[in-house]
């Protein structure tokens, strides 16, 4: 835990206005940081030998709909030497879900960023190869967004048979 405190103090001295919120929950520490400072903070955490967050464990996008700002992107960082974990989170608005890519800092971010782009529609600037990764290339929409329906079939009973039949588009020919 001590290393986490040092890290936060370090980030705070270098970027005094960047930390928007600090959340401690069940032993996990999350720092909500400003998008503008994200890349520089990541570089500091990665390259400062005292901090040494050499390992990007995970990158995940979350849709907090209907909250504003709507999207969150979480970075889970691990320092192997100190055996410490810190989560960084940035919040993005619905209108402009765009942030810099950290794949230059940790190459491990390349595929998770593609996944976040594919499933949540978040744009990563300066990503070397931002294409869909899990969904087909011609897929429309971003399935993990809360406003993307799961696509249930309504069960047909005798009382609603005709109504469902009317609006169901069967394959033509």
């Amino acid at each position: 835990m001590n290393h986490i405190e040092t890290t936060i103090a370090d980030v705070h001295t270098n970027y005094p206005n960047a930390i928007q919120q600090r959340i401690s929950f069940r032993g996990d520490t999350t720092l909500v940081v400003a998008v503008t400072a994200l890349l520089e903070i990541c570089q500091l955490l990665r390259h400062d030998p005292a901090l040494d967050y050499s390992f990007l464990v995970d990158l995940a996008a979350v849709d907090y709909h209907p909250q504003q700002p709507r999207f969150g992107v979480s970075y889970l960082l691990h320092s192997l030497k100190q055996n410490a974990r810190l989560r960084l989170r940035v919040m993005l608005s619905q209108q402009d879900p765009r942030l810099p890519s950290v794949s230059g800092v940790w190459p491990a971010a390349e595929w998770p960023e593609r996944e976040a782009f594919d499933l949540m529609g978040i744009e990563f600037a300066d990503h070397p190869d931002l294409r869909r990764i899990l969904m087909p290339a011609d897929w429309e929409g971003h399935p993990l967004r809360k406003d993307y329906p799961l696509g249930y079939e309504e069960v047909q009973f005798s009382f609603n048979w005709k109504e469902i039949d009317r609006r169901k588009d069967y394959a033509q020919e």
């Binding site: 069940r26 464990v57 491990a108 969904m135 993307y148």
Partner: protein
Amino acid sequence: MSQVREFEGTVDELKTLFSDRAASGETMVLNLGPQHPSTHGVLRLMLELDGEEVVRCLPDIGFLHTGIEKNMEAKTYLKALVMTDRMDYLNPLGNNLTYCLAVEKLCGIEVPDRAQVIRVLCAELQRISSHLVWLGTSAMDLNASSILIYCFRDRERLLDIFELVGGQRMMSSYIRPGGVWRDLPDEFVPAVEAFLEYLPAKLADYERLLTRNPIFLRRTVDIGIIAADQAMARGMTGSSLRGSGVNYDVRRAMPYCGYEHYDFDVPLEEGCDVYARYRVRMSEFQQSMRIIRQALSMLQPGPFMTDDHRFAPPPRSDLGRSMEAVIRHFKYWTEGFSAPEGEVYIATESPRGELGCYLVGDGGAQPARVHFRTPSFHNLQSLPYMAEGYLVADLVAMIGSIDIVLGDVDR
């Protein structure tokens, strides 16, 4: 050339991914998979080849994407559990465990000691069964096909044990938030002891067949080299990372389920190649057996499910005489329990590496977001880096050595 023009619509965006030599026809672009036995499932690799040498390797994944993370958001915490079995289909109990640990961390559920030991037993037996599949398939990729049959024969014994425990051979959802579904049957301990008697001799046979086999050595030593710093930067974990000499095992670094009470070694190899990864996994068999022996001796009678009424179903015997138990039972299985608002991440050491679950709760009975950090996804990411400059046949050995499961990659 005219044929290439026909597909220009889709090829265009891929053009930038290959070198200019591909456009001039100096190198060849070859498609490997998604239906190819050596890709261990539905992995498609687009290869740019100079003769038989790999210039560029582009994995194309998603053929097994089933939207598990999205589906889980529409289910209660309890019902979402069954989705996890289907991710990494060689490690269903390990996936259950990871998800349950995340739910327990989010809700603050205490798990009784006996359940912890049962979980460790399940996780380690599962590791052996997964490693057996890895050994069989990756050796078969190098044309040692008899190993496959031997390994599947041994794995069958483990599947019988899983059936004994959870009622099903594979997708048992045996590990539940708060503990395990039911207590171990009386036959369990003798069955595991018999297996521990059986396996070492068989493993020694496989080692005799492979470890110093000149053909196997020619196919694996100095093939698919990835240095420790590169492996780490690319998010590699598990046995593949330990084959590059990095001492990182989640069971040691962040113990869960009481792994800190077990005495085991973390096998390390410095070779950074396919052979080193083979050696690491072969040693892990022994370590898993060591842990299982200790767990069997730690198995004490006691409750196997938490007694916190909010998170556990009432005992079946109560339903006949207590109205409250009926109500509890009904609410538990329909409405489920609600978890507090917050986000947690929990990691476990799956047979493939760090399997993590990032769980976001919004105060309701359904998770707001579940994200799985799957080891196969991250390990596969380093395959292009590893493959450059080697032959296509070596690439097949490398795919086997990072032990990917496409269900785990695509989720």
